[in-house]
């Protein structure tokens, strides 16, 4: 241990600077009653050699410029490399979720809207290509496998909207038609009813503000009820007397048809009764023209490979 004598030249928060009588400067630990100009006796134990990182380094001008440039560069790079959201597809089966895609139809993100969607997405591993059409088909199939899409809850509600309000509604309709064709081309082992609607960008914002999926928001807005739900509502609301009035109708049809297909079959009877559709073929019907399109997707039979109509009238429902 060595003793030194120095004059206190500067007092800082954690230490003081002293000048020794031979012109050397030392940092010493700060103690009580230190005064500028006072002579102090200190030992080598009191010295602070390279004791701290200068506080001012962050506020140094060069450092600030470097940090600012780095941030700007990072932002520019992220803007270049980040996929740009182009459109949103909402899928409601219950699970309800929203899929955001870029212009090349690659999925940017999938946003669950309820807990069922959380469960569904937990079980789902997104395909490598992140292709929207494949993702929609996968999610519908997985919903069926997980018991969300059943013969009772058979509606798959799809809604599309472009994110940029400059893109017209016709873009949204075209986008939806792409999705419908992709579903049409896909083979399913189960039946379901597809309810689709193409919306405007404004609806997407309103849906978000109300915490609803785009599809649910559109149905609420248009006061639209999907076929199965319409029937359920009728069943619960109508009195027994009304039910008795409907009984004289063909009972065989009522028991065999799944809910929601009644109307279509009636139409088929009237117009196209002699030509039953082969399984997998899509029947289109517009509940409210230009708003919602209802499509029945039938299960593909294992022996109907070519879809040539040999098994006419096939499908689970029959």
């Amino acid at each position: 241990m060595r003793a030194n004598k120095g004059k206190i030249m500067e007092i800082l928060d954690s230490h003081a600077v002293v000048m020794t009588s031979d012109g050397h400067f030392n940092r010493i630990k700060r103690k009580e009653s230190m005064r500028i100009g006072a002579d102090v006796l200190y030992t080598s134990n009191d010295l602070m050699e390279k004791p701290y990182l200068k506080k001012s380094w962050f506020f140094n001008f060069k450092t600030q410029v470097a940090v600012a440039m780095f941030v700007v560069l990072a932002l520019v790079i992220s803007q270049i490399t980040m996929p740009v959201a182009y459109a949103v597809v909402s899928l409601d089966i219950n699970p309800s979720l929203e899929i955001t895609v870029d212009e090349s139809r690659k999925v940017v993100s999938i946003n669950p809207i309820n807990t069922e969607a959380d469960e569904l997405l937990e079980a789902y591993v997104i395909n490598e290509n992140k292709d929207l059409h494949a993702v929609i088909n996968d999610l519908i199939k997985l919903s069926n496998a997980m018991g969300y899409l059943t013969s009772e809850n058979h509606n798959v509600i799809l809604a599309t909207a472009m994110i940029d309000s400059k893109n017209s509604k016709s873009d949204s309709i075209e986008f939806m038609s792409e999705i419908l064709s992709a579903i049409e081309e896909t083979e399913y082992t189960f039946d379901f009813t597809l309810v689709s609607t193409a919306r405007e960008a404004g609806d997407l914002k309103s849906a978000k503000s109300e915490g609803l999926s785009l599809g649910r928001y559109a149905m609420d807005k248009e006061n639209f009820m999907p076929p199965g739900q319409m029937k359920k509502l009728e069943e619960t609301e109508e009195t027994e007397a009304v039910e008795q009035e409907t009984e004289p109708q063909n009972e065989e049809e009522k028991t065999t048809l799944p809910p929601g297909q009644e109307k279509k079959v009636e139409e088929n009877k009237n117009t196209d009764n002699e030509k039953p559709l082969p399984p997998g073929q899509v029947i289109k019907e517009q509940n409210k023209p230009s708003k919602f399109v209802i499509t029945e997707k039938k299960a593909t039979q294992p022996n109907d490979n070519n879809g040539n109509g040999k098994n006419k009238g096939g499908g689970k429902g029959n």
Partner: protein
Amino acid sequence: MDSISAKEAKIDPVSREVFIKEHIPFVIYTVSSVTGRYISTENDMEYSIGLEALNNAIDAYDESTSKFETFATTVIKNRVIDFLRKENRKGYLLSESDVMDATMDESGSVDMRMEIAEFTEHLKKFGFTFDDLVDVSPKHVDSRKRAIRLGMKISGNENCMTYIYKELKLPVSNIIKLFKESRRFVYLHNKYILSIAVIFDKDYSIIKEWIGDVIRGDEYESQ
């Protein structure tokens, strides 16, 4: 080695004197750690009490019980604490800081503080502080002497000083030509040399006096 020295110091007055001198840093450190402040001068009462306690510790030390430093630390601490308690009991009207202020004013420390404050402001203009000088001041005493000598010479050159106050830096090329110094040395210690030049140019007499040992040594060398 310490216990032997303590044993020798116990019986031989010359050895005792040498032993106490060697242990002055130890006394300073121990007293300072008890009081929580630095000993301001050698005339500090706590420092005297500490030295006296060290002397007594030499007499009372039994090498079979413990190390001398451990034993002496306890003795010094107890003595200083006793002294501080007695001082508190006296109940002076003046506080410790009042006494310190009075003492410093008497010894001309106000002038010292003014000089340091003015010097600090000058250094700020050059873009550094005393804290920066800790890292850039020459570590070796010979280098310090050389830098101080150069700073003194620069302060005597009006052109150099005008350049310094105008450009806020050393006229390195000029200095190399005028004073035959190596470029590396000037660049390496430029802040320190600049500070010394300002001290002498502004005639900060108290600071000059403070580093007088080095200057005087330098003068002897040149004679």
